[in-house]
């Protein structure tokens, strides 16, 4: 029996997945490398910064064994810059772009983008490395920006230089981007589409329920119309006459 869960990932599941992202940690005590399922971690030797999975970093942080360095995009300067981009009139339609993809490691068989070729394996978000470590790109929000930002602010508040400003900026960003997404709902229709380049995982999870519901509902409504039309057409073919009044009724039903 299947679980009675909506399709797709729920926000809590997305939050759980983001804990696999690596963050940079400044250890406060030594620890040998661990062999984890997700891959081995580096040995911790204070004060050398080391990348660790977020869940482990949070665990060490709670035990006061490490400090977490917030990724560069979680600084006041970077967030302000991204927020400016989001609120600028000229780019009002767009979401701020996601981080640059790393240079392709494999070569495309033909001239072309290896990211688009079928037989090459190139990682893209959310599988990019260093999305939230100290080496992350400063001027772009990675896929898990909202979750990581939230987790770091709640669990490692003392590692931020200006916590309140960061919190405020994150909130602003979230609201700006959500309103953009909501604007996209207006055009939701059977054939409508919203360009969602640069939208983060949590944002997708948040709107998935609504958008999925709307699109699904529309499809259901359309299906009944489609089916009835098909029935009618077969009837017409069989009977050889049509009824305009019947069609009008159906249109009223649709409204």
């Amino acid at each position: 029996m299947a679980l009675p869960l909506p399709p797709g990932l729920t926000p809590s599941e997305v939050g759980f997945l983001c804990e696999m992202e690596h963050v940079t940690v400044i250890p406060r005590q030594t620890l040998d490398g661990l062999e984890l399922l997700g891959g081995p971690t580096g040995a911790l030797k204070p004060p050398f910064p080391t990348p660790l999975p977020l869940w482990l970093a949070l665990l060490l942080k709670k035990q006061r064994r490490a400090n977490i360095t917030p990724p560069p995009w979680l600084s006041v300067d970077a967030l302000t810059q991204i927020l400016d981009f989001e609120t600028d009139e000229r780019t009002a339609e767009l979401f701020s772009p996601s981080p640059n993809l790393p240079p392709a490691t494999t070569t495309a068989p033909l001239e072309g983008d290896p990211y688009l070729a079928h037989d090459s394996l190139e990682l893209s978000a959310p599988f990019l490395k260093d999305a939230a470590t100290a080496r992350a790109q400063a001027d772009a929000l990675p896929y898990h920006w909202l979750e990581i930002g939230h987790l770091l602010i709640t669990h490692a508040p003392d590692d931020f230089e200006d916590l309140d400003a960061v919190r405020k900026l994150l909130r602003d960003l979230r609201e700006v981007r959500m309103s953009k997404l909501r604007k996209g709902f207006e055009v939701l229709d059977a054939g409508g589409g919203v360009k969602m380049n640069g939208v983060g995982g949590m944002e997708i999870a948040e709107v998935r329920g609504f958008v999925g519901g709307v699109v699904d509902g529309l499809r259901k409504l359309n299906r009944s119309r489609e089916e009835s039309r098909k029935e009618r057409e077969t009837e017409e073919r069989e009977n050889g006459f049509g009824s305009s009044s019947y069609r009008d009724d159906e249109d009223e039903d649709m409204l």
Binding site: I26, R28, Q29, T30, P46, P47, F48, R65, T69, A134
Partner: protein, 832 residues
Amino acid sequence: MAVRLRGRPAHAPGPTYLSYTPNGKKLVTVGVNGALRVFQHGSDNEPAIIDVLTDGHTAVASTNDFIVVGAEDGSVTKYSLLTNSMEEILVRCSLPVRDVSLSKDGEWVAVASDELEVKVVNTRDMTRILHLRDQSRPVKNVSFDVSGSTLAVSCTDGIVYMYSLSSEQPTLIKRVDGLIKTLETDVEVSAKVAWHPDGRAFAAPTATRARSDWQRHKAFSGGHRADISAAAWSPNGALLATAGVDKSLCIWETRSQRLLKSYDDVQNAILAIDWHPTDNVCSYTNNNGELFIREDFVPGEHAKHLRIALQPAPLNNDPLSEISGNARKQLSNGDKPNGARRSAEDQYLDDLLGPDAMSDDEMDFIEDDDGAGYAEETNDVGKRSAVANGGRPAKRHAPFAAWKPQVHEAFQPGSTPWRGDRRYLCLNMTGFVWTVNQDTHHTVTVEFHDRQEHRDFHFTDPYKYDKGSLNEKGTLFSCRPSTQTQQRAVLYYRPHETWTTRTDWRTQLPVGEEVTSMSLSESCIVATTSKGYVRIYSLFGLPLKVYRQKSMPAVTCASWRDYVMTVGNGLVGGDGTTRMLYTIDNVRRDELCQSEDVVALREGTELRNIFFSDKGDPCIYDTEGVLLILLHWRTPGQAKWVPLLDTKTMDRLASGRKDETYWPVAVANNKFHCIILKGGDVYPHFPRPLLVDFDFKIPVSSFPAGAADDEDKDAAQQKNLEEQYVRASLQHSLASDLVDNTNATSAQKTEVPVMEREVDKALLQLLAAECREGEERGMKALEIAALMRDRTGKMLEAAGKIAARFQRDILGEKITQLAERRLVGLVDEEDM
């Protein structure tokens, strides 16, 4: 910075003025209340107070021994700085005094009051008074030029009167009209003329003017939105500080009239500015009775302007302009002032003074009636420099500072100066030591990065330790000798852990000796002292060695295990500063690895930090932001400094938006660890900033990182590979040096072949790039193949395969030949 800056309430709220004594030791302020305050430079103590009968002081001027103060009741009084008491009233005017100015020798004081005439009074004999009566309205400001022969009188009618005082009878030589504004005598706006220290130009609160032709030459414009209330040239004339009634404060560069910095944290209008004669300190007083002593006044990147020798004034058609751009030529001219420069100066003065002053003998040009007064200051050995004895009138040399070699100051690696009441004594990869000044004592805190291994500790420090050094084994402190308590300099070592009871120890240095720098390693303690000794102790306080350092005075020292590196001031180089020399000594084996070798610093740069890397190679970081490592230093005479990273060329600065510098901490794990300093800071401050690490990047070529099109990308990739090759070869030679010269661990031994492979890998990639380029690049490709270090032939085999893949058959053949020759032992290096 704004947080740190707090005014010192010097006087009751109201107009306040100040003056530095020419030797820079004291700072005198006067205000509306009946007391004068004498601050000691560089001390935070309460100033000495001279209680006086007058109040409402309006002007002050000082020499090393006495000050002259003008007050609103019309009196000009002389006070002794030696006894801090009143000496005599020099002159009494019927109306308030507005300004006083002392000639450089302190012989004459010019007094501007609301009376029409300006009085010039002899400070020793108050009966000798000159009266200057040419102006038609009261005078606002007076100002002696550097030679003391010309007095600029700024009158409220908007005219600057220039008087020559070189003869007994003062003569008006020029009225400069339209330069200053017409002002009332009691407004805050100043009309004071500020003479450039080279005596050829002056700045008035609208423009700069040369004195040869009294023409307006250069304007410093764009910094103030309101009238200027004060202006002062830096002691060498390279910078000009101005303040406006709009509460602004600006620093200008003289040569280009460029605004260097504008301070916006001024709360009240500044009435008087004065530069400290030698340090990067500028003080100002405002109309609210407050004194501000601004340390590090000139931002770090411009501070070099203060250290250069006397700068020429920025004149149009300056015959010296072609050399003024080059500080070194400038200096050598100052060195022998009888050269070309002198004649140019004479020309100016002769033009100015006309036939009357052009007597046959230049000696009589100015009556040097006091004999010694006009001569320049004696240097620190108590003699006048040779220049003054050159048979020319000493007075003429006064504008030119006596040349002295510049000695590098001693510093303790990893420490910062006081800021507020705290400073770091040591900041490294083990932890950090800081001290807080509590006036009667200090409190020292030691914190570790690794909290599990060591416990942080904290203690009250009655000795006031001023140097600290920290490593995994213990902490070392030292304090200065104190004359008051007869306390001698002390070294204090506190081990972190022991298996007996705590074994911390103190040792006293001989009387009069002071620790200039010290260093703690895993096996010994090194201290360089003010007497030129290097003292080496064991970790338990046993003195192991004492020897005199060859290059003195000592600058700093560093140590790693048994290797001790001491840096001292050596011979004077071409730029007038001493060359820093270092010596590396293995104290256990008593071997000199390097003796008196040069610390390769570019002209004008300073050593910022010196440390050993985690692998034990000496590294230096200079003020230009270049990290250098010493290669082959274990073999005498073979050492060379190799740049590892030029922080100015890092990609993160490429956008040009970031204004940051780096404070070096360590080289470890093949990375450069530092602290990012923003906003012109020179040292890290509290709260403790995070350590940041950067990869090495040898400055092989500068190529923009964000290259747009593919061709650029390829070229950038190529440069990247080249850099990788150079870096890998450097690391390989560092590693093989280590293995060849020490009892290396097996891990270190395995590292050498790994590094060798890295070098060959970089070469293979370069080879592939060359092959891709085309057949015609075959020669270069072969050269690259010949550079391969691998002796097993595998790498050359791989190189042959690459050539085959790109179908470069001739190249492939040649590589095979090369491989065969190597295999049979024909040494190809000899052939080349």
